[in-house]
Amino acid sequence: MEYKEIISSALQALRRNILRTSLTMLGIIIGITSVILIVSIGKGAVAFITNELSSFGTDYFQINPGNSTFSSLAGTNTLTLDDVEAIREDSSLTNIKRVAPMALSNSIVTANDIKKSVSITGITSEMQEILRPDILYGEFFNEDHDRSAERVALLGVDVAEDFFGEETDPTGETIRIKDSTFRVIGVTESSSALAGSVLNNAVYVPINVAFNEIIGEERIQEIDVSVHDTEQINQTIEDVELLLRDRHDLDEGDESDFQIQSAQDILTTVQTITGLLTTMIAAISGISLLVGGVGVMNIMLVSVTERTKEIGLLKAVGAKEKDILTQFLVEAVVMSLSGGIVGIILGVGGAFLVSLVANIPFVIDIVAIIIAVGVSTLVGIVFGLYPARRAARLSPIEALRYE
């Protein structure tokens, strides 16, 4: 029997009951749509995060106080400016380019008769290299600012707009942070979609001034270290770890009171977590494929019963078991594969819309599409086999007599 003829007769049989066929396909459509959608969004999210993190470069690592990610936020105070200085001054650490400490706080800022709680970030001039912001007005901190106790401030672009209005250069103006007056020396803007909202909403002051005037104690939340040779970054991390453990009088076996993570580590962690989540949600969506398959089986069984006489007639004119089996199996596969194809179209379309709305890259995973086609064919074969065998094994007399 020819496949062209079989497929056209399967399409004819399915068209006979178009509403029923469509409803049966719905389970497969929903399953495939959600798998394609979730995998595409997942891949898009990974691409987005990778781009973001890569825009800061992978040539640096960060040191945080405490032994868990949250310790630094909880106010753990195990890193000092002396540690920063020790890393800077160690002549054996030749791969290190810049060492930039950071201190975070929140404070009431007053300017232009406006009063607001703003995030205050204490940094040094070296942070320019790490954050790579655009300087909209004025200048970034220089080494003189690092050393002196002069009260100067850099404004994130959103803060500048809040206090001084849009497209106004506030350089030279003064703002009050807590009880001290600071002179604005510039406005910065970060174009990072991920970090921009935080970086552009902060006021930056020299770290020493932050400790003395705002925080009231020496408390470092993060030390960013950039390197010359990214290939050697792991060796440098080990060396810095040894140096800090030595400085903190930690014995062998003691847990470190700080954490070191490279940008690459963060990237890998984010990719692993997103990949895992995507796989998990896609697998859950896959369950609806199973439900769809049961629907296909149910309808095929109904169809075999309805067409018993037809099967009898076909057997009378010479159809063998395999001819009937093939015909019904092809019908089930055509039904679930069509559902799969509609699902792919909807999934890809949906992923495109989500990428537009959420502003993430539109990623089509060809492997996911190939798997979707394979899975929907397989669902048709697996769930169509039993009804098809039932049809094929009908006795021609019983089938012809069926009322």
């Binding site: 007769s9 007639l313 159809a319 395999k322």
Partner: protein, 231 residues
């Protein structure tokens, strides 16, 4: 001079069916019967007489419980389902009382169907199907859907399908059961014409008037042949 081999030869054929209460129903009680090439036979009998079972066995839709069925000299009593399917495809052309055609399928595709199972290429299928439709004068309806033609036309298409594989026997089960008298006669005339061209025809009917179109009438009662008359 040796006798020619009959196209159908049933020898002491019995058939019994198991019933749900563990008992058996004896449908045929030892039928012995020979039909030769070119005969036009009507098998008659009241309902429950075993005439349909006889037709099922002759048509290779079923096998006897005991006894032998020789088709063109070959014993097919113990053939497998697929072997019987091949016999039906190659040797027997069926015309049923109702549900003869696949609905929502064109007349042409219906007639082509047995050739599809025989693996005949599409081009030849169409040629032979059109020739068969020509013979029963319905080729102009070739591209009509089969549920869009009249009862008499359906039976003519069924006859076209029955002859398209050039089988040894044309087996018709109450072919005029659903037709008015005029159309019934018209259909029976087609069978007569085919018979004149040398086709072997076996018709199952309970109508005396229809049976009269045949050249030989066999009557079955309670699973036994009670009369076998040639005209």
């Amino acid at each position: 001079m040796s006798q020619p081999v009959p196209v159908i030869h049933l020898e002491n054929v019995t058939k019994r069916y198991p019933l749900s209460d563990g008992e058996f129903y004896q449908s045929l009680n030892g039928i012995t019967l020979s039909i030769h090439t070119g005969e036009f036979v009507a098998i008659m009998g009241p309902s429950g007489s075993g005439k349909s079972t006889t037709m099922h066995i002759i048509g290779a839709l079923d096998t006897p419980t005991t006894g032998k069925y020789l088709l063109k000299g070959k014993d097919i009593s113990s053939y497998t389902d697929d072997q019987l399917a091949e016999i039906r495809n190659q040797e027997i052309g069926f015309v049923f009382q109702s549900f003869n055609l696949l609905s929502r399928t064109t007349v042409l595709k219906n007639v082509e169907r047995p050739m599809m199972y025989a693996g005949i290429p599409q081009e030849e299928r169409t040629k032979r199907a059109m020739a068969a439709l020509e013979l029963v004068r319905i080729s102009e309806k070739a591209n009509n859907l089969s549920n869009r033609i009249s009862g008499g036309q359906i039976q003519r298409v069924a006859i076209a399908r029955a002859i398209v594989m050039n089988p040894s026997i044309i087996l018709a089960d109450e072919p005029t059961g659903n037709l008015d008298t005029k159309t019934s006669h018209e259909i029976m005339t087609y069978f007569q014409n085919l018979n004149k061209e040398g086709k072997t025809i076996v018709i199952i009917t309970h109508e005396e008037e229809i049976a009269q179109f045949a050249k030989r009438i066999i009557k079955i009662v309670d699973g036994k042949i009670v009369s076998d008359k040639k005209k």
